[in-house]
């Protein structure tokens, strides 16, 4: 029953982080190489996780008592939703380490420590099946990122890092309160048990609000998004990649994993609000991205827009839309990760990120140009690449029940083309913009290697998404079961249906106090 692989994927990097932290004499380059090896090993180790349960249940579970007095368990497990996200995380980490060769020259060892700690925290978030454990990992991933931005960031890093932490902590404080209440009310913090717990509609409304607040700040959903551009602009490249690639997904993941199945009635009730916010986010984020002149800010606001699509898909409560939304989490990690890597690479050469400073790079840096166009196409959802599959599924699924929302969101696809092609045009085409353009060398082999896995995945997912989708779908179905039942029973909202699970890992009666 207990499988140690997941724990290894989490504790391995953590142990490595500790080791590096306690080894002050280690020189920067060996430290970086060691980190690279560890992250690659972690990635390889995480690959078997993709063999998920076809019925959508949890696999690779590890369940041991942790804080017995409070009924808190060290319970890990992955299903079709979390396994791809875990692998995305472990995939991005070596790339981030590779990218750091370009821009991190001071305090390299500490940087590696932060990255590894971050990795453990992020994987933990996606693997935790106990609310308290989830919360611990949720916060644990916050601190290293705070330091990444605050120490290795740009000129206004302190402001950005503080803003980031204040926003997220404010949200997660509500999450903590919510978790405490859930534990108090049901006597358990275990996800499997909670899926069968019954909470009154009133309780659900409050708890949903508390949980959703934390997750929406993290996503970030308009109007809680203002920390994101600041954090992105100031973060070092690696920080941006992690932030966009993984951290934001914690929000949408939380919505899918906790809000929908645990508070089904409230989810139904609030779905229109979240759909509206998502649509506003899609359009508003796109317009903002269009109005920006800083490369990183353009991508940052495009993230707001893209994650609006994810939230739209999740709260349409439609199977293919929610599956598409989960796929879109991965897609966004790939395409935005690649874009941030590329912008980092050009920043290392130009030391500016103002769009107006560039131009005509297609002639001097053809490889960069090809990569940028490729990543852009993935980001704007060109059919044949990954972004399209996600967006298409989200929109087609959402259209069934919410045609207006889906139509408005489709305009986001259009706006996406406008601002992203503006970015491409400004960077690559037209007359040469920067007087030193000719001295910037094209992408090196290391940089190409950093990008290559992302591009390969973009094509693979674009042409054959089914292997991934067939893993995601049953798991998503399970998350949607209760909201759907609640929707059907919404004529009699007082009766809360509970889901009968095939083989629950713990035979705990719902509401039993420990």
């Amino acid at each position: 029953m207990n499988d140690l692989l997941l724990a290894g994927v989490i504790l391995g990097p953590l142990a490595a982080a500790l080791l590096l932290a306690l080894w002050p004499k280690l020189a920067p380059e060996p430290a970086r190489l060691l980190t690279l090896l560890i992250t690659v090993a972690t990635f390889v180790a995480s690959l078997p996780l993709l063999a998920t349960d076809a019925a959508g249940g949890m696999t690779r579970e590890l369940d041991v008592p942790w804080i017995a007095a409070l009924g808190i368990r060290f319970h890990l497990g992955v299903d079709g939703i979390s396994a791809p996200l875990v692998v995305l995380t472990t995939l991005l980490m070596p790339l981030v380490v590779l990218a750091s060769y370009g821009h991190v020259h001071d305090r390299v060892r500490q940087y590696c420590v932060l990255l590894l700690a971050m990795e453990a925290g992020m994987v933990g978030v996606f693997a935790a099946l106990d609310l308290v454990l989830f919360y611990v990992f949720f916060e644990m991933s916050l601190i290293p990122l705070y330091l990444l931005v605050g120490v290795y960031g740009g000129a206004r890093r302190t402001y950005a890092a503080l803003k980031f932490v204040l926003f997220t902590v404010a949200g997660s404080l509500l999450l903590l309160l919510g978790i405490l209440y859930v534990m108090h009310a049901t006597g358990s913090a275990d996800f499997a048990a909670l899926r069968r717990a019954t909470l009154s509609v009133r309780e659900q409304a409050w708890l949903f609000a508390a949980f959703a607040a934390a997750f929406c700040v993290k996503v970030p959903l308009v109007p809680f998004h203002t920390w994101l551009p600041d954090a992105h602009v100031e973060a070092p490249t690696g920080g941006s990649v992690i932030l966009a690639g993984v951290t934001l997904k914690m929000g949408t993941y939380g919505l899918l994993r906790f809000c929908l199945p645990l508070f089904p009635a409230a989810s139904i009730e609030h779905a229109p609000l979240l759909l509206a916010l998502a649509v506003v986010g899609i359009l508003y984020g796109a317009l903002l991205a269009w109005a920006q002149s800083d490369l990183k800010k353009i991508i940052a606001y495009s993230s707001v827009s893209h994650l609006g699509f994810v939230v739209l898909g999740l709260f349409s409560l439609q199977s293919s839309a929610a599956t598409g939304a989960t796929l879109q989490m991965i897609n966004h990690g790939l395409s935005t990760g690649a874009l941030f890597l590329l912008i980092g690479m050009i920043y290392e050469r130009a030391h500016t990120r103002q769009l107006a400073d560039f131009g005509g790079l297609a002639r001097t840096m053809p490889r960069f140009a090809v990569c940028l166009v490729f990543a852009t196409l993935s980001s704007i959802g060109l059919p044949g690449l990954n972004g399209f599959v996600g967006e298409f599924l989200i929109l087609i699924g959402t259209w069934r029940d919410h045609p207006l929302a889906a139509s408005l969101a489709s305009l986001g696809v259009l706006l996406g083309a406008i601002y992203m092609l503006g970015l491409v045009k400004g960077l690559l085409f037209g007359p040469v913009g920067h007087p030193k353009t000719a001295t910037w060398r094209d992408l090196t082999l290391r940089e190409m290697a950093t990008l290559a896995p992302l591009f390969a995945l973009m094509i693979a997912i674009g042409f054959a998404p089914q292997p991934l989708l067939s893993r995601i779908e049953p798991a998503v179905e399970r998350m949607l079961e209760r909201p759907r039942l609640a929707l059907e029973a919404s004529l009699a909202p007082t009766a809360m249906p509970s889901v009968d699970e095939g083989a629950p890992p713990h035979d705990r009666a719902p509401g039993e106090r420990r």
Binding site: K163, L166, F167, V222, P223, H225, T226, W227, Y284, L287, L288, W290, A291, Q292, Q318, S319, S320, T323, G360, A362, R363, V373, L377, L382, P383, G384, F388, V389, F392, L393, L395, I396, G397, W399, R400, P403, A406, S407, S410, L411, V413, L414, A417, I418, L421, G422, K425, L428, F429, G430, P431, F463, A464, P465, Q466, L469, S470, E473
Partner: protein
């Protein structure tokens, strides 16, 4: 057949990848020759597919080949299952035939045209990618694959227009083309979403029986697709990108922006013709949009100085004809016009390319003239194309155009007077077409030379010439070979009509009337041509003077009705303004709110901090005050 179909898709994609990755190391004509070889092979494969289908009985003329499962989600009526595969039927094979056929010729032409260009490998790589996208658009097994090709051709168009990326104009035009196309794509997407909701499938094979049985379709659903078609096929009001797209290399204009990609919109309407027929007034919208576009673009073409712009507007105008045919329910006639148009418009563009090539990039008609002495072969070929465009018997365009006009008149004759208006618009457009074509030809080849005396125009090299000759033949005989309605010689219709919706309105005229109308149209075309040729043929100076000191309406034409400016004023700038407004709103209000929360706490702490003044007595005093208060409370 699976292999043939698979190869049809894989070959161009593989060649695109090959040239894209390793093309830099190939020199001279090698990339071009490789690409041309591939395109010719594809044409051969398309012919094979055609022969295979023709061998099948009429009701079983389709092949469905699926390579792998793309998506499979949901269950029951919410199931969304899509394969990556091909759907061969007369319609798709017809398109594949002329796409690969005209495509091969243009590839051949490009070998010489791009020989001295820097980065020709990139150009050919894009062309191969375009061919792949176009083929998957046409052959794709379901609408989503069609959409994949749809966006793919848009992408290639974007890349090829912006091929000369140092030019700001080209970069802008490329982006404009992509964005305007995307506007249409939103319509396409919404059409697909709706279709799936109503019918639960998007596969062409599965939709065939459904579409055959459907009787009522929400008009907006059909119009969603039509918006997509308008974007791709440059109809009002989304035509603005096509003239700008002429910033790309001329063979690209010939291939993408005249012969193939822009007809994708027609293909979509034909593919979904039963939906359009069942959707009440949707067809009328198509007809009127088409007629209006034809007239509108024809007017603009009257006063363009750039030879490629004349051709671009004439393309828009001819596409309008095709949509007019679709809107009238004469889907077969639309397909017919698509094919003849592909022949003669490709010919005209390639000829214009030869002229531009000979003049080292000069595109201004006012700086040409008398070129028939320098470029006799090109002049001869282009004249054939021009006659075809002007609809002069027996050139290809005559047959298809006349069929469309005949249908419009027949429906008016059958009792719908509004169709006479459409017919009138068509005839007027035909006259305009003949006039501006004559103007273009005369300014270019006739009269005295106004060419820069330093230039020594010379005839195009062999590959370019061969392509021109082949297309010239096609433009001459292509129409008569494929169909002449008045003689009931209609091989194309017999081939393609079974997969299209039956026309909802009558399409046949009494023979006498038919012949009479034909003669009338012919006379109008010849007359207009003569006027145009005479006007611009003699002394050039008065003609130029007349154009320069034009009355207000002509100024409007020269300014292309200022549609671009109108767009800028009504859409782009307001949207930009909204974006800036959002930025300020975000910075000041949304972020301000959160920063305000921070400032408020800071203010609060500053205030409270004042009490912490470091004076021991003050602390003692407040302590005592506190004690008094507490005691009072305790005693009260």
């Amino acid at each position: 057949m699976n292999l043939v179909a698979g190869l049809l898709l894989i070959l161009p994609l593989a060649m695109a990848a090959l040239l894209g990755l390793f093309g830099k190391r190939l020199h001279g004509k090698t990339p071009g020759l490789l690409a041309f070889g591939m395109a010719a092979t594809c044409f051969g494969l398309a012919v094979a597919a055609f022969l295979h289908l023709r061998g099948l009985p009429e009701e079983a003329r389709f092949v469905e080949a699926s390579f792998w499962r793309w998506l499979d989600l949901g269950s029951g009526d919410q199931r969304l299952a899509l394969d990556v595969g091909v759907w061969l039927d007369p319609l798709s094979v017809t398109w594949a035939l002329f796409v690969t056929g005209v495509g091969s010729l243009i590839f051949l032409y490009s070998i010489s045209y791009m020989e001295h260009e820097e980065g020709a490998w990139r150009y050919f790589s894009y062309l191969c990618l375009f061919l792949f996208s176009m083929l998957i658009l046409v052959l794709g097994e379901n609408l989503v694959l069609t959409f994949l090709g749809w966006e793919g051709v848009g992408l290639c168009s974007y890349l090829l227009i912006g091929f000369d990326y140092g030019k700001e104009v080209a970069a802008r035009a490329g982006r404009k083309a992509f964005v305007v196309n995307r506007i249409g794509d939103v319509g396409f997407l919404i059409g697909m979403f709706w279709t799936w909701k109503l019918y639960g499938t998007l596969g062409h094979g599965e939709m065939k029986p459904i579409m055959a049985a459907v009787t009522a379709v929400p008009p907006l659903l059909a119009l969603g697709y039509f918006v997509g078609a308008c974007g791709k096929s440059a109809q009002l009001p989304l035509f603005v990108w096509l003239p700008d797209a002429m910033a790309g290399p001329t063979p690209v204009s010939a291939l993408i922006h005249a012969a193939t990609m822009v007809t994708a919109g027609i293909y979509l309407v034909l593919r979904l013709s039963p939906l359009f027929v069942a959707a009440e007034w949707a067809l009328d919208v198509v007809a009127w949009t088409g007629a209006a576009t034809a007239l509108f673009a024809g007017l603009i073409a009257l006063r363009q100085r750039d030879i490629k712009r004349v051709l671009a507007y004439s393309t828009v105008s001819q596409l309008g004809y095709m949509f007019l045919a679709c809107g009238l329910g004469a889907f077969g006639a639309a397909a017919f016009h698509v094919i003849t148009h592909a022949f003669f418009k490709a010919l005209l563009f390639l000829g214009a390319g030869a002229v531009i090539h000979a003049l080292h990039g000069e595109q201004d008609l006012w700086k040409m003239g008398g070129l028939k002495h320098h470029l006799p072969k090109t002049a001869r070929a282009m004249t054939a194309g021009a006659f075809a465009l002007a609809g002069i018997f027996p050139f290809a365009g005559f047959f298809s155009k006349d069929e469309i006009l005949g249908v419009a008149f027949a429906q008016g004759y059958a009792g719908d007077p509004s169709r006479y208006v459409l017919w009138g618009m068509g005839v007027l457009t035909a006259a305009l077409t003949a006039f501006y074509t004559a103007r273009m030809m005369t300014l270019c080849f006739g009269g005295t030379s106004r060419v820069d005396p330093h230039l020594h125009p010379h005839e195009a090299p062999a590959p370019m010439a061969i392509a021109l000759q082949v297309l010239m033949v096609a433009s001459i005989v292509g129409g008569a070979a494929l169909g002449f309605e008045a003689l009931h010689w209609m091989p194309l219709h017999h081939w393609i009509d079974p997969v299209l919706a039956a026309p909802p309105h009558p399409t046949h005229l009494p023979p006498a009337l038919n012949w009479g109308l034909m003669a009338l149209a012919m006379m109008i075309a010849v007359l207009a041509w003569r006027i145009g040729a005479k006007w611009y043929g003699g002394d050039f100076a008065p003609a130029r003077q007349a154009e320069l000191t034009a009355p207000r309406f002509a100024k409007l034409l020269q300014g292309r009705f200022f549609v671009d400016e109108l767009y800028a004023l009504l859409i782009v700038r307001p949207l930009r303004f909204v974006a800036e407004l959002c930025l300020e709103f975000d910075r000041r209000v949304v972020d301000g709110l959160f920063r305000g929360a921070g400032s408020f706490s800071a203010l609060l702490s500053t205030t409270v901090r004042l009490a912490q003044n470091g004076v021991v007595h003050a602390y003692a005093f407040w302590m005592v005050v506190g004690a008094v208060l507490l005691l009072t409370l305790a005693l009260a």
